[in-house]
């Protein structure tokens, strides 16, 4: 624990106890508790380290006039303090504990009405309940009743916390009782404390008496569950709901015999509840049944018969909406139960069967079909039911074949015909009966159903045997894309589905020329849609398509989908180039990324540069210089990263022509990108610089690709890295070219950037560079001697911006070194005068001063800098110490109201 913090704490406690209004802002108390949580987790005893807390708690608890937030904080703090048995005893002996958690005390003060007091009370108790003493305290103080009441609290947060607490109590009781029976305990996940959790209890600690207490608690809770589960009137549904939530928590976590006991206690009530058929309770009920069911599954016990019966009951409810919910909940669990899985699948497919008129289910009970049909006639419930069914279809198709009433292909057909219905196409088989027609009218134009169906369709691409549907899917998606009524999200999802189907199916032999023509037309149309969202999705689609490898029958060779269905660059490139002029920067950025994706293949094949590509590069450099928005500029840098990395990974086929364009462009990207105003452009530019470093030094001894700090000092360096011998001449040549490309300036300018991610990346790369050209491990003199030639490589430090910062740092370093009388600090800046005035003069006079790269690298204290940069930028001001100081300052500012203006918490 930080000594400074501890020394400030007593004063902070005084301030808080004196007046609650001195808080810097609404997060302060939460952050203070975060600190205490951290300390407790680290095994610190709060009472030992901060004895002032005891006095604080007892002062505050008597002063009910304080701000409720302070009181709530104190309740929670008490929990942390009393987490060890020793501290608990101290608190109890000083009778603080009784008062803190005394409900009457808060009620009499009129504070119980405030939800923050109630939640503080629950959380404080919850934190403390890590040892049997606390549990005994809980039992003796008879907190169970109020806790059960809080379960139905009007505050969502309080009710949920109370439920969690009740579960915790019961599980604690289970652990304590099980110690006696020498059972293995798996619980105790909580705030893993030093002070011995209940699980660590010594056998002897549990007396017969306490055991009886716990048994009483268990009985009381289960009695209450049993009693309150079935609502006596509609207004009590909320209570049943809460009880069900608690029950689900418990049945998932308890073990026999408690599990058995609980189940036995509530089984009848659950039955009763099922028969009563409250729709609002269906999902929570299903959760309870499934929790019990999975608990058998997990513990490899045979499913309990009562539970199986309840489950079967749920999957046979009459009310269609409830039935669908129950079936979906069952499938979501992914349990291995063939009978119920098959049944759930049938339930979920019924609405699709009805609405599409396809025979997905060979047989269904007439009554069930009739009820479902009636339900589907209501538009709102039709849409919501269909959406639930659709969401579950992909999972269904992956189930064992004998669970599915129909092959996955038929499900795809159903989704397709549903999509047709949505767009008003009634040519599907559903028009057979008037009921179906009435139902199918409900989904016409519903974008909610469309989105859901498209998501399902995308996921269904991976189902077994559905490839045969590719042509049909293709046709339908193109129709969706062409539909003037489709909303932008529907169009986006259609594009995504198309890409997904093509990438999964890969064999495009079923795609006809007509298909291609239709797609071309619709892409052309959507690329100039009035809505930017649509244009952007279209452009993104073009890019993604280029990344999909497919096989065509005509040419057995694999190609990318863009070539296969759109004819490749001759179609896409003009569209994308046009999109570079888009008014919306998002679209411009997507167009640039898409261009990189479509051209990737030609880069990799080392194809000769076309006139068009040269024009594109010029256009992109223009964008980098002139585009007013960051997104497009970021994309330009990424374009060059993609190009450069594809060239270096396929260096054997590198065409000299493309190199001749690439390298000069990279140079201008480096210089423009590192002077950009957007931090991400700068980060990407450094990524580009990193690629150049990799390229230049790959195999060079001392060069570790990527992050130097991540390499373990004793890591075995792969042999491949030693293939090139350490040749000083090579290094000089490489370093010279790095300087010429502008890599070194880009790194140096990044180092002094005000945005931490930029500076951090630059710093790491500079260290990497230093380690390869002039490692610090060589002493200064050795280094000078050993690398006399390398040291001659210089770079320019112009008079403005970042270079001035670097110069200042060098001057400071030199001064420090001289002051220390050290030998390492020689002249690093080889202009006559290191002083600022001299530098200014040098630049003004047109002479840009040059410095030795090696000396700069060795003088910049990069390691210290890295240390600071790898920390959070707010590590000083968002620390516990800073928080404590802020609380103290706020309080003293408040005591002199004249000097300060009131700062009101406000929007930002």
């Amino acid at each position: 624990m930080d000594r400074e913090c501890v020394s400030l704490l007593p004063r902070v406690c005084e301030v808080l106890a004196a007046s609650g209004s001195s808080l810097p802002d609404d997060t302060s108390l939460e952050k203070l508790l975060d600190w205490f949580t951290g300390l407790t987790k680290a095994g610190t005893s709060l009472l030992e380290s901060c004895p002032c807390l005891l006095e604080f708690i007892s002062t505050v608890v008597h002063n009910t006039a304080l701000d409720p937030s302070i009181l709530s904080f104190t309740l929670r703090l008490t929990g942390f303090v009393a987490v060890t048995e020793v501290a608990f005893k101290v608190l109890q002996e000083s009778s603080v504990l009784d008062l803190v958690f005394n409900l009457q005390h808060w009620q009499e003060a009129g504070l119980w009405e405030d939800p923050c007091i109630r939640i503080g009370w629950i959380q404080g108790l919850r934190t403390m309940m890590q040892h049997p003493k606390a549990l005994s305290f809980f039992v003796q103080a008879d907190f169970l009743q109020p806790l059960l009441q809080l379960q139905t609290d009007k505050s969502l947060f309080v009710a949920s916390a109370a439920n969690q607490m009740l579960a915790h109590v019961l599980l604690s009781c289970q652990s304590v009782s099980s110690v006696g029976s020498n059972d293995v305990d798996e619980e105790g996940e909580d705030v893993g404390r030093s002070g011995g959790s209940i699980a660590d209890l010594e056998y002897s600690a549990v007396t017969v008496e306490t055991n009886q207490d716990y048994a009483a608690v268990v009985t009381a809770i289960s009695e209450c569950l049993k009693k309150s589960l079935v609502p006596r009137e509609n207004t009590q549904l909320h209570q049943s709901l809460q009880i069900l939530k608690l029950l689900a928590l418990l049945l998932a976590q308890t073990r026999p015999p408690l599990w058995e006991k609980l189940l036995q206690m509530v089984a009848d009530s659950v039955d009763e509840l099922l028969v009563a058929g409250y729709s609002q309770l269906i999902l929570p009920l299903m959760d309870v049944i499934l929790a019990a069911y999975s608990s058998c599954d997990v513990n490899r016990r045979a499913p309990d018969q009562r539970v199986s019966r309840l489950l079967s009951f749920m999957l046979n409810i009459r009310k269609p909406a409830d039935l669908i919910q129950a079936a979906a909940a069952f499938l979501r669990r992914g349990l291995h139960d063939l009978v119920h899985t098959a049944q759930s699948a049938r339930v979920l497919l019924l609405p699709l069967d009805i609405i599409t008129g396809l025979n997905l289910l060979t047989t269904t009970a007439d009554e069930q079909r009739f009820l479902m049909m009636e339900q589907l006639k209501n538009k709102t419930s039709c849409i919501s039911l269909i959406c639930v069914c659709l969401t579950n279809t992909p999972q269904m198709t992956l189930m064992a074949a004998d669970c599915l009433p129909c092959p996955p292909v038929l499900i795809v057909t159903a989704v397709l015909s549903l999509l047709k219905l949505c767009s008003g196409d009634s040519s599907s088989p559903s028009s057979s009966s008037s009921g179906c027609r009435e139902v199918s009218r409900n989904v016409i134009g519903s974008s909610k159903v469309q989105k859901c169906a498209l998501d399902a369709l995308t996921a269904l691409s991976g189902s077994p045997g559905v490839e045969v549907k590719l042509a049909e899917v293709f046709t339908l998606l193109v129709q969706c894309l062409d539909n003037p009524d489709s909303d932008p999200t529907v169009l986006q999802k259609s594009f995504q589905a198309l890409v997904q189907w093509m990438s999964v199916c890969s064999d495009l032999s079923s795609i006809t020329d007509q298909h291609r023509q239709d797609l071309l037309q619709v892409v052309r149309k959507r690329s100039c849609d009035i809505r930017w969202e649509v244009r952007d999705s279209t452009v993104e689609f073009l890019g993604r398509l280029a990344g999909v490898r497919v096989i065509q029958t005509t040419a057995e060779e694999a190609s990318d989908a863009s070539v296969a269905v759109l004819g490749g660059c001759c179609f896409t490139t003009p569209l994308l180039r046009a999109a570079l002029q888009d008014t919306e920067s998002y679209v411009r950025a997507s167009a640039i990324s898409a261009l990189a994706q479509t051209l990737a293949a030609s880069w990799q094949q080392g194809a000769a540069l076309t006139q068009e590509q040269t024009e594109i590069v010029n256009q992109l450099l223009e964008v980098l210089s002139w585009d007013t928005e960051g997104f497009a500029r970021r994309a330009v840098v990424r374009y060059f990263i993609a190009w450069l990395s594809s060239m270096s990974s396929h260096s054997c086929v590198q065409s000299p022509a493309s190199s001749s364009l690439l390298m000069p462009s990279v140079r201008s990207v480096l210089s423009r990108g590192s002077a950009d105003l957007d931090w991400e452009v700068k980060v990407h530019t450094l990524e580009l610089a990193e690629l150049l470093l990799d390229e230049a030094f790959s195999g060079q001894r001392g060069y570790t690709k990527g992050n130097p700090t991540q390499t373990h000092p004793y890591a075995v360096i792969p042999n491949t890295l030693h293939t090139r011998t350490h040749n000083e001449e090579d290094v000089v040549g490489v370093l010279n070219s790095l300087v010429q490309w502008g890599v070194v300036s880009a790194l140096l300018s990044g180092l002094v950037d005000c945005d931490r991610p930029v500076a951090l990346r630059a710093c790491r790369l500079l260290i990497t560079l230093r380690e390869v050209v002039c490692p610090l491990s060589l002493g200064a003199l050795d280094a000078t001697a050993a690398m006399a030639t390398v040291a001659r490589v210089t770079c320019e430090l112009p008079g403005c911006g970042w270079a001035r910062e670097i110069r200042k740092m060098l001057v400071m370093k030199a001064k420090d070194a001289n002051a220390e009388g050290g030998v390492s600090g020689g002249e690093v800046v080889n202009c006559d005068d290191c002083g600022e005035a001299g530098q200014e003069a040098a630049s003004v006079g047109g002479q840009t001063p040059c410095v030795s790269v090696c000396e700069v690298l060795r003088s910049l204290d990069l390691d210290e800098r890295l240390d600071v940069l790898t920390r959070s930028s707010d590590h000083v001001h968002n620390s516990p110490l800073s928080l404590l100081q802020d609380i103290l300052t706020a309080s003293s500012a408040r005591s002199q109201p004249d000097t300060q203006q009131e700062v009101i918490a406000d929007c930002y």
């Binding site: 009007k154 505050s155 989105k451 999200t489 969202e533 950009d676 105003l677 203006q901 406000d906």
Partner: protein
């Protein structure tokens, strides 16, 4: 069961944190705002959606999300919700908010990435994908979210693009608004209709404050900047990329022009141009003053404000610099602050609120020695000024809004509990309506009048029209007479004749009778005549007849007089009326009684 509207704040309930308010109305669930809290670095910065996603997807639960304005505490969690938690449904905001939101979200992402260990955070692609789900709203245009739910946006004027929203399902409605500032009233398309919502949900940030006029604050701001420049100092104004920054720029630009000042003004963020572009694009949304000046010359092509280069900070002489981020978290504003803090001639002006854990917060608190990285300390000698340009309404503004919209209930959010309590008292006293202020996680429930759709026969309507009076108007309810038939789950209002016909029933007449005893020495016919003349004089406009059979008729009420055989002075007044005459009966009876006692 009476229908009810439930409002549950997940954020902004009795606090000024991240706004996120759930409303369920007529079976629809709507999320109002989806903000983040800058004071936290973990999941607590976002609303806890697990309370509404249990057992399902957010898309299944929510019918739509509505964002009131671009401030991060109102929209900052949107990409998290839509792209990370998962929500595919519609998100509504005005055109300017949709344009500006991504700028601020990017700005915020930068601050977050700048800190260490930021995982579980949205990417630029997520921001874009989220914005693609946004459906832009036009002012005063009713948008049909689905068959039942409709929303309509009104100008709010808090910041560029801020809107009030009227949400309606059937006959139930809710209005949600950020605090409306005074400019709203002078705006072209200003102010909300007298829409009488069931609940008006309003922010109450400045609920107890009567604020100086904005002009006062502006004058003060210019004065302070000017003084600093005059004495050769530098002024740093930390801002977020968009919002206050542009308005302050305009102020300074105009002032520099007027005073013919030469000191340079710089704007340090790369996003300026885009921001200015949006101010230009949405000029009709800005306040009157900006618009007026804009007509005179193009406000956004600044003559005096130039882009900032990091080396300028070291230049000698006075200057004004706008730099991001706004709370001196990190980045450029902090870098400049560190350079200038040591000189007492300089000044930093904080134009907005700063959360704890930032340098902005510390200096506003009055700290003058700041601990910096590596145990270094920074002496803050420069002058620190706080000037809130927040465009929230004070209590007066909120009261005015209530007067305009005439809500049946009021609900306060986005304010401190104590201040809300004060305003609540005032509202309940002045308007006699219930005012709610639920804490986060608490639900305020308001029951509404059930709306029962009834078909009405055309004949009945025509007859009502024939009776005269104004044409039907949904805002002015009128009484109608007819017979309500409930048949096969439907309700129909028809004339009684038609009802009899349809149901195949005969008409029965009910007559009610009443005896009144009184003492009167006159003969029976005389008594009757006296009654007749009196009624005639008092009940003007009624048909009153003295019939030859010895009865008086007032409309359909029949009055007869008889005396007992034993005592001729003791008269018995016999009254008889049909059910239609009920409403006149009591009037007539009172008059007769009064007459008898005279």
């Amino acid at each position: 069961n009476m229908p009810e509207i439930n409002v549950t704040p997940l954020g902004a309930g009795q606090d000024v944190g991240r706004s996120c308010i759930l409303v369920s109305i007529g079976g629809k669930n709507i999320m109002l705002d989806c903000g983040m809290h800058m004071g936290y670095n973990d999941d607590r910065r976002f609303p806890d959606f697990s309370y509404i996603t249990q057992n399902g997807r957010l898309t299944d639960f929510l019918d739509c999300v509505i964002i009131s304005h671009f401030h991060l505490d109102h929209c900052g969690a949107l990409p998290y919700m839509s792209e990370m938690v998962g929500y595919d449904g519609p998100i509504y905001m005005t055109h300017p908010t949709k344009a500006i939101c991504p700028i601020l979200l990017e700005d915020f992402r930068k601050i977050t990435v700048d800190k260490k260990g930021e995982t579980n955070f949205f990417t630029s692609q997520m921001i874009k994908d989220c914005m693609k789900k946004v459906v832009p709203l036009n002012l005063h245009q009713t948008v049909q979210v689905d068959d039942e739910l409709e929303i309509k946006a009104y100008y709010a004027g808090h910041v560029l693009g801020a809107a009030m929203v009227h949400i309606k399902v059937g006959s139930e409605s809710v209005v949600y608004t950020v605090s409306v500032n005074k400019y709203a009233k002078s705006h072209i398309s200003a102010w909300i209709d007298k829409c009488r919502p069931d609940i008006l949900i309003s922010e109450s940030t400045y609920a107890t404050t009567i604020r100086d006029s904005k002009r006062c604050r502006e004058r003060d701001f210019l004065k302070k900047v000017h003084e600093t420049i005059e004495r050769g100092g530098k002024v740093l104004i930390p801002v977020f990329a968009l919002g206050r920054a542009q308005e302050l720029c305009i102020l300074l630009e105009t002032f520099w022009e007027r005073m013919n000042l030469k000191a340079p003004i710089y704007f340090s963020t790369g996003l300026t141009e885009k921001a200015n572009h949006y101010y230009k694009l949405f000029i009709t949304w800005t306040n009157q003053k900006i618009r007026k000046t804009f007509v005179q010359r193009n406000m956004f092509e600044f003559k005096h404000i130039k882009a900032f280069d990091r080396s300028y900070a070291d230049n000698p002489g006075p200057m004004v610099v706008f730099a991001t981020p706004g709370m001196l978290h990190a980045g450029q504003s902090l870098q400049i602050f560190k350079k200038w803090a040591g000189n007492e001639k300089n000044m930093v002006i904080m134009p907005g609120y700063c959360v704890q854990g930032t340098i902005g917060h510390k200096i506003l608190n009055g700290q003058r020695k700041l601990e910096m990285e590596g145990r270094a300390t920074l002496d803050v000698k420069l002058q620190v000024e706080y000037m809130s340009f927040s465009a929230h309404a004070d209590a007066k503004g909120i009261m005015q809004l209530i007067r305009m919209a005439e809500p049946r209930n009021m609900l306060l959010v986005h304010g401190e509990a104590v201040k809300m309590e004060f305003l609540k008292g005032k509202i309940e006293q002045e308007f006699s309506i219930d005012c709610y202020m639920p804490a986060n996680g608490e639900t305020a429930t308001v029951t509404t009048n059930p709306s029962v759709p009834v078909d009405i026969s055309l004949n009945l309507l025509k007859r009502e029209m024939a009776l005269g009076g104004p044409l039907p108007d949904p805002k002015k309810p009128r009484t109608m007479h007819g017979t309500l038939i409930m048949k096969e789950n439907s309700l129909k209002l028809v004339s009684s004749e038609q009802a009899l016909k349809e149901l195949g029933l005969n008409e029965h007449q009910l007559r009610f009778t009443c005896r009144v005893q009184l003492q009167d020495p006159h003969s029976d016919p005389d008594t009757l005549h006296r009654i007749y003349t009196h009624l005639k004089s008092v009940l003007k406009g009624y048909t009153i007849q003295h019939l030859p059979d010895g009865t008086v008729m007032v409309e359909s009420i029949v009055i007869k007089v008889s005396s007992s055989a034993e005592d001729t002075n003791a008269k018995v007044l016999l009254l008889s009326w049909s059910y239609q005459g009920g409403e006149y009966f009591f009037t007539a009876l009172c008059i007769v009684k009064r007459l008898m006692y005279q």
